[in-house]
Structure formats: structure tokens, C-alpha cells
């Protein structure tokens, strides 16, 4: 160790024995992704019944690029009348053309959407990064490829549903109201629309108010695909618009992804009705790092678990639980690795951590940073430069936290990791399970039997073992406890759109 510290000449930036230090060895030149080819209109209307229509009250709201704070475009605000119109057109499509065409043909429409998304992938990736602040590397390599993959996967289910539900005759609900969050705008749209349509439903979908752009671009694509009018309706707006969808009498099923708080409000407002619902809510994922874990891999996994998409991930690994014997080592390596992260322009291909999605979320995360410090936590932040404009937060670690601290118990939804230690596996598992959430957890160890034991005792819908934050259309996703009801993805995700 002392060698690497004293002999500068022998310094290897990637050697496992030395501190990671890329910045002083070479500089990254800017590598901007061209964004001019991605056309953005000044204003977007609602997509109802296969047409773009003006909102009934004529109100629009602005959407800003969180990396520059510049206005990109404006979206229509859908009010009660507009939502009603959208539901009616979805109902008409459900009772008409969409139910008349065969399952096989239905599937072909979804295949067509998947292919067209692939063709226009780069355009969607650029728009996603502009509108939401996520690094282009992620929207290009993760979000948009997965969007196409989800449509392609569910397309194939359309005419094979009876194989997914042995002993049942699978039937669609009818009209589904779907409300999605701002962290993976187009991907969440795909998670909702693809299985709903494959099962034969029609949908009214509301994207998040800060990230509606790709949903409306998707609406244009739907038109190009020649999908029957009214099968997909997209209405933009904030919470009030969402509540109009949830409470509309002619909605058969509500699918929501978002915070646990809003999920509870939705569950409550559906009380006493026969509407079905699935909820994908918050999380506070723990990662258990055992002494026998491959430490360098684990450190990479932790970085991906919490700083991927600025930590705006419901299943983010936001709590690190490290076994005492390796705690110092892991924390040191983590701090070193933090220093190498590039925070900045989402449209730069080298950027690791982009902009916080909105001013509101920026303030929320900052509030939690304050809470953490006030609770007595030690804070460590990467010493990187961040752009002057835009909403950026340095990747952050909290050590010296206890289980009851708010930063340990509550979902921050930002690039903030808390670090605790444990001695025995039982203690680690107990700490992992000790929040109201149960969406995802991770375990790092080289011992196979330990993976299965720990994995079976952690109460969450996803277990990432020696990996983290992986997604695939064939893989069911969803929470235990207050992290939600139901699953999305895979064969199990179809159940959310089939009458039981």
C-alpha cells in the first residue's frame, strides 16, 4: 500500500491495490450527444381517440430541462372533461374494434410498436435525457432498449394467454387507468401499456408532469403504427388529472407506479368500489455485504445500486449493510470510487450521474441531507464539480447512522446512501427487513448456500445476489409490504390485466 502512495511514477489508476484516480491521470474531453435531430414541438396536446386534441380548459403547463432549467416545451392540462373523453374513447375501442380483432393480430400491433421504437431509439433516448435529466448512457443503453424489449415480450403473449393461467379462461378487464412516475418515463409506460394491451385491455395513461415528452412522442409513434383509435389514450397533467382517472366510474382497473404515500391515497380512494388495482410503490433496498464477498465487484454493485439514475429508482439499494470485518475496507473503496464519478451534463456520453429530475425533488433530497446531518450522521460527498445551473447533487454517503434514523427508514429517491454494519447474518437480515418497505434487496457473498438462506429471509419482491438494479421484461418486479401490490413484468405481470 505504501508503495502506491509514495511512488507516483508506479501509480496505476486501476490497480486493485491503489486508490482509484482517473482524473489526475487523464481528463475526459466533452463527448456530447447530438440532440438537434430530435424534434420537439413548442406545445403538445392530449392524445385521445387516436387524435391530438386541445385540453377543454385550454390550460398548458411548462416542462423544463432539469440540467439547464430551460423550458423545453409545454403540455396540456387534462381536466375532468378531458379524462372523461379519454375514458369514453377507451371504452368505445374496447367494446369495438379492439375486442373484435384476434389475439394474434393484437400481438402484431405490439410487435410493430416494439420495432418502431427500436428504429427511433436514439431519438427517444435523447428526449428522455433532455426532459428528465438522466445520463444519455443510461437512456440509450438501458431505458429505451428495455422499452422495446417489453413491448416485444408482451406482444408474444397476446395469443398465448391461456398458457399463463392454468385452469382459467383469461379475459381482459376493459379500460385501465394507468399513472406512471418520472424516473423512467418511457420505460414505465411500456411496463404499463404492453401487458395491458397484450391481455386485450385499452388504456388511459397519465405520464408524470415533469416528464411527459416521450409519452407524447410515443403517441405519435402509435399513430404511425396504425393502432385502432382509442386503444391508447394519453392525458397529461399533475395529481389532479391522476385523481380524475382513479375516480372515474368507467375505469375497471387502476395501475399506479409512484410513491407509497400517493399509492395509499389511491388505495383509499378506491375503497368500496369493485375496481381492481396494482401498485408499484417506494422502497428502501438494503445490500448485505458479507466478509466473504468479492469486494471490488460489490463496490461496483453498490455504485450502480444507488447512483444509477441519480438514485431515482424505487428499488435503489439505498442502504448499505456491511459485515464488520470488511466495513472499513468497503467504505474506503466506496469513497474512492465516488471520486471517480462524473456528475454533469446528461447529454454527455461520459456522464455517470445526471441532473435531479425537478426542482421539487432537488429540494426534497437536500432536505434529507439536512435531516441526516441533524440526526448525527457523518456525511461524505464526492469532491466533484457540478454545473452552475441545473439541479445537481453530489453522490453522497451517510455513515454513523442508526436503524431508526429517518434517512435509514424513509425513501429519499436521490443519490444518497446510508451505511450501517452488522456482525451476524441474522442481524443483517433483521436490519434489512426493518423498514415498512419490501421492494428489493441485495446480497453479496461468494457462498452459494448463504445467498439462498439470506435471500429467502429478506422480505422483498426482488433479490439481487452479487448484482443489483437489473431489469428484464421476462422478470417479475414488485413489492412486499408497503412497497406495493401485484407484479409487473414476466408471466406474473400479465395477472395484473386479467380478470380473476
Amino acid at each position: 500500500m505504501s508503495n502506491t502512495e509514495t511512488k507516483e511514477a508506479a501509480y496505476k489508476p486501476t490497480s486493485p491495490n491503489s486508490k482509484l484516480d482517473f482524473a489526475s491521470v487523464w481528463e475526459y474531453a466533452p463527448a456530447p450527444q447530438d440532440s438537434k435531430f430530435a424534434e420537439v414541438k413548442d406545445q403538445y396536446d392530449l392524445f385521445i381517440g387516436g387524435k391530438f386534441v386541445k385540453p377543454s380548459k385550454g390550460r398548458y403547463f411548462k416542462s423544463t430541462n432539469p440540467a439547464t432549467e430551460e423550458v423545453i416545451t409545454e403540455f396540456a392540462e387534462a381536466t375532468q372533461k378531458d379524462v372523461d373523453k379519454a375514458v369514453k374513447s377507451a371504452r368505445k375501442a374496447f367494446e369495438g374494434e379492439w375486442s373484435r380483432i384476434s389475439a394474434k393480430e393484437r400481438g402484431k400491433y405490439l410487435f410493430r410498436i416494439a420495432r418502431m421504437l427500436q428504429e427511433r431509439a436514439r431519438e427517444f433516448a435523447v428526449l428522455e435525457s433532455m426532459d428528465g435529466g438522466k445520463p444519455i448512457r443510461e437512456s440509450r443503453d438501458v431505458d429505451i432498449p428495455l422499452v422495446a424489449a417489453y413491448f416485444f415480450y408482451y406482444a408474444g403473449w397476446a395469443d398465448k394467454l391461456e398458457y399463463a393461467f392454468p385452469g382459467k379462461k383469461p379475459e381482459p378487464y376493459g379500460v385501465c387507468g394507468q399513472i406512471i412516475p418520472w424516473n423512467f418515463p418511457l420505460l414505465m409506460l411500456a411496463w404499463k401499456i404492453a401487458p395491458a394491451l397484450a391481455a386485450g385491455n385499452t388504456v388511459v395513461l397519465k405520464p408524470a408532469e415533469t416528464t411527459s415528452l416521450t409519452a407524447l412522442k410515443f403517441a405519435e409513434l402509435v399513430k404511425d403504427c396504425g393502432l385502432p383509435d382509442g386503444v391508447i389514450n394519453i392525458v397529461t397533467g399533475a395529481g389532479q388529472t391522476g385523481s380524475e382517472i382513479v375516480n372515474h366510474k368507467d375505469i375497471d382497473k387502476v395501475a399506479f407506479t409512484g410513491s407509497t404515500n400517493v399509492g395509499k391515497i389511491i388505495q383509499k380512494s378506491l375503497a368500496g368500489t369493485d375496481k381492481k388495482y396494482t401498485l408499484e410503490l417506494g422502497g428502501k433496498g438494503a445490500m448485505l455485504i458479507f466478509e466473504d464477498a468479492p469486494i471490488d465487484q460489490a463496490v461496483e454493485g453498490i455504485i450502480n445500486a444507488i447512483y444509477f439514475n441519480q438514485g431515482h429508482v424505487c428499488c435503489a439499494g439505498s442502504r448499505l449493510l456491511v459485515q464488520e470485518g470488511v466495513a472499513d475496507k468497503v467504505i474506503q473503496k466506496l469513497k474512492d470510487r465516488l471520486e471517480t464519478l462524473i456528475v454533469g451534463d446528461p447529454l454527455d456520453k461520459n456522464t455517470d450521474v445526471g441532473a435531479i429530475n425537478s426542482k421539487e425533488q432537488f429540494e426534497t433530497v437536500n432536505k434529507y441531507l439536512e435531516i441526516g446531518v441533524n440526526e448525527g450522521a457523518e456525511v461524505y460527498q464526492a469532491n466533484c464539480d457540478v454545473p452552475e445551473n441545473g439541479y445537481f447533487i453530489r453522490p453522497t454517503l451517510f455513515t454513523n447512522v442508526s436503524q431508526s434514523n429517518r434517512v435509514v427508514q424513509e425513501e429519499i429517491f436521490g443519490p444518497v446512501l446510508t451505511v450501517q454494519t452488522f456482525r451476524t447474518a441474522d442481524e443483517g437480515i433483521e436490519k434489512a427487513n426493518n423498514t415498512p418497505y419490501g421492494l428489493a434487496n441485495g446480497v453479496w457473498t461468494d457462498k452459494g448456500s448463504k445467498i439462498f438462506k439470506v435471500g429467502s429471509q429478506m422480505r422483498s419482491g426482488v433479490i439481487w445476489a452479487n448484482t443489483y438494479n437489473k431489469f428484464d421484461p421476462t422478470s417479475p418486479f414488485g413489492g412486499y409490504k408497503e412497497s406495493g401490490v401485484g407484479r409487473e413484468g414476466g408471466m406474473h405481470g400479465l395477472a395484473a390485466y386479467i380478470k380473476n
Binding site: A271, L281, S456, N466, P476, F477, S483
Partner: protein, 289 residues
Amino acid sequence: MAEERIDVKKTYKMYIGGDFPRSESGRTYKALDSDGNLLANACQGSRKDFRDAVKIARGAFGGWSSRSAYNRGQILYRIAEMLEDRRDQFMKELGPIGFKTAEAEADINAAIDRCIYYAGWTDKYQQVFGSINPVASSHFNFSMLEPTGVVAAFAPEKSPLLGLVSVIAPIIAGGNTCVVLASEKYPLPAISFAEVLNSSDVPGGVVNILTGFREELAEHFSTHMDVNAMCYTDNLPQEMKKLIDENASLNVKRIVKHPVEDWYDEEVQSPYFVTDFQETKTTWHPVGF
């Protein structure tokens, strides 16, 4: 001349944690036969009784959910054996509350068979409803079902034995533990069924049976923060349904409603009643040398 023998009547208490305690509240209500005569005093369970039962059910969850599927199957089968053995006791209990002999026999037969039906599912539903998922990246990925946790249930009002068994069996077959409120009007067969459970190798605390009033307990069943799911099969009054749904949102409880009219119908036994109380857990692991 021999003195006329005075028969010994059974005291019906509740079933919590493998014991038969009275309600901590000291309250009882009258369980009547179909002519309005007193059969017994049933306990009127309280909020505290429910909370005690949930705590015990939570304590039993770890052990029960980690029993092997084979073992759970054998225990459910054992319940059927014990039930068969005590047919006479249930004949005596169902008669006075309006079951004709043939009806009571059919009810007991169906209850026994239902236990066996679910005994057979314990080590199969995982194979039918779990999956291996062919993800595009270099990972091994599989989904398996795990029990939701502690389930609170209202047993059917009009089917005090078969309905009760039909509700409990799929819940525990899947490794959950439960707190069940017996039929309000006909609570006695439920307590006798508890005696069956108690002699069937079902660990204490896996099934807890309270007697009492829905009107009083609906709120407590649905607000408890350590209950993961709530289930009912009767068509409850709209107000109570709404109350239960609303309270469920406090901790995102799963609400399982199965309107059932006829408990003899084969359609009311289904592996989907098991999966209603299951969570899908998906595990990823990298593949490589």
C-alpha cells in the same frame, strides 16, 4: 334407582397460540340453536384479543413458512384425519343449528375433502406458478412464491364448518399464519375445529380463531399495521367493505374478496386461493466462471 346423570357441558373459549383462553375482556354472547335456545356462551373477542393473536401469529410465521412443503401437506392431511375421527362431534354441533343429518354429513365430508385438496397443493403450486425467466443478460433468474405473512380473515357467516375450513386451508397451505373470526351466529363449530387443529400437529399460533362481532372487529382487523392481508368471502355491507378497504391503505394490506354463495361448489377450491396469499419473489444471480 340410579340417579339421572347430569351431562357435562363444554365451555367454548377462543383459540390463540395453541391455547384456549377466554376473551381478556371477560365478555360473552349467547350462541343459540335454531329454536332460539341457548347452546353455549361464546366469547366476545375484543381488540386486545385480536392484537394478542396477531402478535402470536407473527411469531409463528417464521417457523411455519419455513416448514417444508411436504411437511405442511402432511399436517393438512392430518387435519383431515382428525376431522374424520371427530365426525360425531360435528354432527352434534351442526344438527341444532339447522343442518339436517344428510346436510351435516355432506358438510363434514366436504370439509375433510377440502383439507386433503389443499394438502395436495402444498408441494405443487410452486411448480405451477413459479418460473424460470430467460433474461437477456448473463444472469440466472427465477421467481418463486412466498407467503404474504399474517392474514386476518372473516370466516363465512352461513357455513360455520365447511366455509371456515375452506378459508383457512389455502391460507396455511401456502405458509401464512392467520387470525380468523368465526361465524358470528354459529361460532361453536369453529372452536371445535380449533380442537381438531390442536391435535393435528399444526403448530400453535399458525391458526388463531376468535369469536365475536364483525361490526366491532372490522376496524381492528383492517387497521392493524402488522397484518399483511385481509380476506372475506361474504357479501359484507357496503359500509363495512369501504371501511376495510380504506383502513387497508394504512399499510397497503392486500384485500382478498371472494364472494362465495355455495361452499359445496368445486369452483370454490382452487390453487388461485393459495396464490392470493402469496408474493412473487424474483432472484437474480450472475452466470460466469
